[in-house]
């Protein structure tokens, strides 16, 4: 009950149902987004000003709206971190077939769930920046994202750092996360910030007073790690809120929500732009008001990564399509306390696709997860950038 109440307040705050709590009193949506866009432009400009000309050349790319993003395949480049595996015989440039690691390419921007040594991201790696420049780069993220979203990014990077500290045969750790700026930071013409690395692909298109976070990939391995003596469970909200919703369903609803087959990976991961699968599971129109609140609260884990000024209209849009939004589950219906579960779930609506996919291959699925967040109608802000 308390959980439901807390969730209701969170959603109400996000959706503007309760004046004051979480919103900026006295500032209308347009004014809020306008001033937010100005703040992001200022932060990005400060970051660019902190770089030298050579660095600016490496971090700035053209922003060219595309009809669709494409699956991009990469061969191991040999530019990775410690222990990087060079290619075997027959793998040199111009030899052998194309293929290998999959990323999603949108113009000159590329993101993926693979490490940066396998799928190189365009831009500058944090490790190559001095302290001032790094702080300016992180400031761009801090301004662009909500406090919860920024913390999520830090937690994911911390998890990859923990993986790196144990030793990996590929580039990992905070230092190889990469920032790229596509187009010129502007309050009127569209541009894009891309930030990512292993288990993170943030793509934010800023088009006037619209900010679009989709597509974005979050993930973690290990999902639980210790940092400065305290335990961090990455994507805990995504896990716990999903179980809360599942627990709130009655037997008939569960029967519809729980798929009779198992799903072992992301269906619409990198390289699947523009694809919409036939939805399955329980439709939110068959949910009670309380369950719908829990569903919206779960969705806000992704939609709320972006700064509140943009999350609010986005949540309103998702809520408007809620009747046609499906919740589908595959896997165990319980999880150990303090651990993420090993179950897959998907939320699919007219303007939304979310997948949460624990990765079982070669290890413990509760310690390795990939998630994807898309808007089939507006990935890369297409609705605002198409000519």
């Amino acid at each position: 009950m308390l959980l439901a109440l807390g969730s209701a307040l969170t959603i109400a705050a996000l959706c503007g149902g309760v004046g004051g709590a979480g919103t900026r009193p006295g500032i209308g949506t347009d004014a809020a987004t306008d001033s937010q866009t100005q703040a992001i432009v200022a932060a990005a400009t400060d970051f660019l000003n902190a770089l030298n000309a050579d660095q600016r050349g490496k971090v700035l790319f053209a922003f060219t709206p595309q009809k669709t993003a494409t699956a991009a395949r990469f061969r191991r480049s040999g530019s990775g971190g410690p222990g990087d595996h060079r290619q075997g015989p027959g793998g040199g440039p111009g030899m052998g077939p194309p293929g290998g690691f999959v990323g999603e390419k949108y113009g000159s921007a590329v993101w993926s769930n693979f490490p940066v040594s396998d799928v190189p991201r365009p831009g500058l790696q944090l490790g190559g920046l001095n302290a001032v420049q790094r702080a300016a780069a992180m400031h761009v993220l801090r301004v662009m994202l909500s406090p919860e979203g920024y913390q999520k990014v830090l937690d994911i990077m911390g998890s990859d750092q923990a993986l790196s500290d144990r030793g990996t045969p590929f580039a990992s750790g905070r230092a190889v996360y990469t920032i790229g700026i596509f187009g010129t930071p502007s309050i009127s013409t569209p541009w894009m910030v891309q930030f990512g690395g292993h288990h993170l692909g943030l793509n934010v298109v800023i088009a006037s007073n619209h900010d679009v976070l989709a597509p974005t990939l979050t993930g973690a391995q290990p999902s639980v790690y210790t940092s400065n003596g305290s335990t961090v469970r990455v994507l805990a909200g995504e896990n716990d809120k999903a179980f809360a919703l599942l627990d709130a369903l009655d037997d008939t609803q569960r029967k519809q929500a729980i798929l009779n087959y198992r799903v072992n990976d992301l269906v619409l991961g990198p390289g699947h732009d523009g694809e919409t699968i036939v939805p399955e599971g329980l439709k939110a129109s068959a949910m009670t008001a309380q369950q719908r609140v829990l569903l919206l609260d779960l969705i806000s884990e992704w939609a709320g990564i972006i700064n509140d000024a943009y999350a609010k209209p986005r949540m309103e849009e998702i809520e408007a399509g809620l009747d046609d939004t499906y919740f589908a589950w595959s896997g165990p219906t319980t999880h150990k306390p303090g651990r993420n579960g090993s179950s897959y779930y998907r939320i699919q609506g007219p303007k939304l696709i979310i997948e949460f996919s624990p990765q079982g291959v070669g290890g413990d699925p509760t310690m390795h997860v990939h998630t994807i967040y898309r808007d089939p109608t507006n990935d890369y802000g297409r609705a605002f950038t198409s000519q």
Binding site: P89, G90, P97, G100, R262, N264, I277, P332, K336
Partner: protein, 397 residues
């Protein structure tokens, strides 16, 4: 082979390598079905996990020269065509390869390579409703299948319903061409479901049989327990009785747990399973008299109950919310798989022990040797058991 060497080999075999038990070695095969105006496209994305990459590579790089030639790519695509089937309204559709991507050998070896194949089939003429069936049996011994249909871009194509079997190796899709069907059934629970409502028993049992085998041969804890029981048995009749007691017990708890009638936390079951190894192995050493007869049967039965809960954990991970009749088939297949896995280790071990014992001509020598094998083997097993016990207890703390 000298007796001493045989004993050393047994001791070595029983020292399980300290890798994490129950690892998953999988070959992910994701299929996307896309409808276009006059054809349907199958897009397969194939990703072998690192532990099975060599197996898959052996299929692809047939001449083993470390590169994947164009001819080898074509041959592999043909192999995939042979292993999948697409039928529309019961008629097999001819699949034509339209594009393919292969990673390098090195990438595949690291479990990071991704193969992409796209096939095309002609759509049937007419504007009535149709049923598409797709089956994928490519490398079913190691496969994990995904299959999904894209929302058609053409407004004249309507998806009426879809259904899959549990491991997504078999998929059905009902669709209509032309005007939207008058009463559109809710997608997901549809006419197509009728076709799969009564699951085909044999493929399901076979699928879960292999899950059972895999669970046993990758989970050293159960094998160690069996080994300890074998070492304690003096005659084949002893062994049959003790294994029967074990099987009976674990079948009971496996069934009860899989049907959700009993539930025991993993934090209790895992340490008890490890403790059972140590208990039986130590008993073999310090009280060989108790290692046969009624007391041993009781021990095998008692611990068998907990091993059954452990097996159920492995089964429940892959089985959830299935219809009851399907669960029973799954339990049946899984149990047979576990038995087969047990026998794969048990029978060679029994044969080896018998051969070693027979190597002594005199009865007294045989008894002495028997006891020595029992002690040394059991000491090794108990050490391995202690190792698992420590891991299980550490996981709880």
């Amino acid at each position: 082979m000298s007796v001493r060497r045989a004993i050393l080999i047994i001791a070595f075999l029983l020292q399980a390598p300290p890798v994490s038990a129950h690892r998953l070695n999988e070959y992910l095969q994701a299929t996307t079905i896309a409808f276009e105006k006059d054809h349907v496209e199958l897009r397969l994305r194939l990703t072998p996990g690192v532990d099975v990459a060599q197996k898959v590579l052996a299929d692809i790089d047939a001449n083993g020269d470390g590169t994947i030639s164009k001819a080898e790519q074509r041959a592999y695509a043909e192999q995939v065509i042979d292993d999948v089937s697409l039928a529309i309204d019961g008629h097999a559709a001819r699949l034509r390869l339209v594009s393919s991507f292969f990673p390098t050998v090195e990438e595949m070896k690291q479990g990071m390579g991704d193969i992409a194949l796209a096939f095309e089939a002609v759509m049937p003429p007419g504007s009535t409703t149709h049923r598409l069936t797709f089956e994928n049996h490519h490398r079913s011994d190691i496969a994990v299948y995904l299959v999904n249909c894209l929302q058609p871009r053409d407004p004249a194509i309507h998806i009426v319903g879809q259904d899959r079997n549990y491991d997504q190796s078999s998929y059905q899709l009902d669709f209509a061409l032309g005007a939207p069907p008058t009463s559109q059934a809710p997608v997901g629970a549809s006419a197509a479901q009728q076709g799969l409502e009564r699951p085909e028993a044999l493929p399901l049992i076979v699928t879960f049989f292999w899950h059972g085998v895999r669970h046993i041969v990758t989970g050293y804890d159960h094998l160690l327990f069996i080994a300890a029981l074998v070492l304690g048995a003096a005659t084949l009749w002893d062994l049959v009785k003790v294994v029967t007691a074990f099987t009976l017990a674990h079948s009971i708890t496996l069934t009860l747990a899989a049907l959700n009638l009993v539930h025991a936390p993993e934090g209790v079951v895992e340490p008890l399973i490890s403790a059972s190894i140590v208990f039986v192995a130590v008993q073999n050493i310090v009280a060989p008299d108790h290692s046969r007869g009624w007391s041993r049967l009781a021990v095998a039965f008692f611990f068998g109950l907990f091993h059954g809960l452990g097996f159920a954990g492995g089964l429940l991970d892959i089985l959830h919310q299935m219809p009851r009749e399907t669960i029973l088939l799954a339990i049946l297949g899984f149990s047979f798989g576990i038995e087969a896995g047990n026998q794969m280790v048990l029978l060679p071990l029994v044969g080896l022990l018998a051969a070693v014992r027979r190597s002594r001509p005199d009865a007294a020598g045989r008894t002495r040797l028997s006891l020595a094998i029992q002690r040394i083997g059991s000491a090794s097993v108990s050490m391995a058991g202690m190792y698992y016990l420590c891991i299980a207890l550490a996981a709880n703390s």
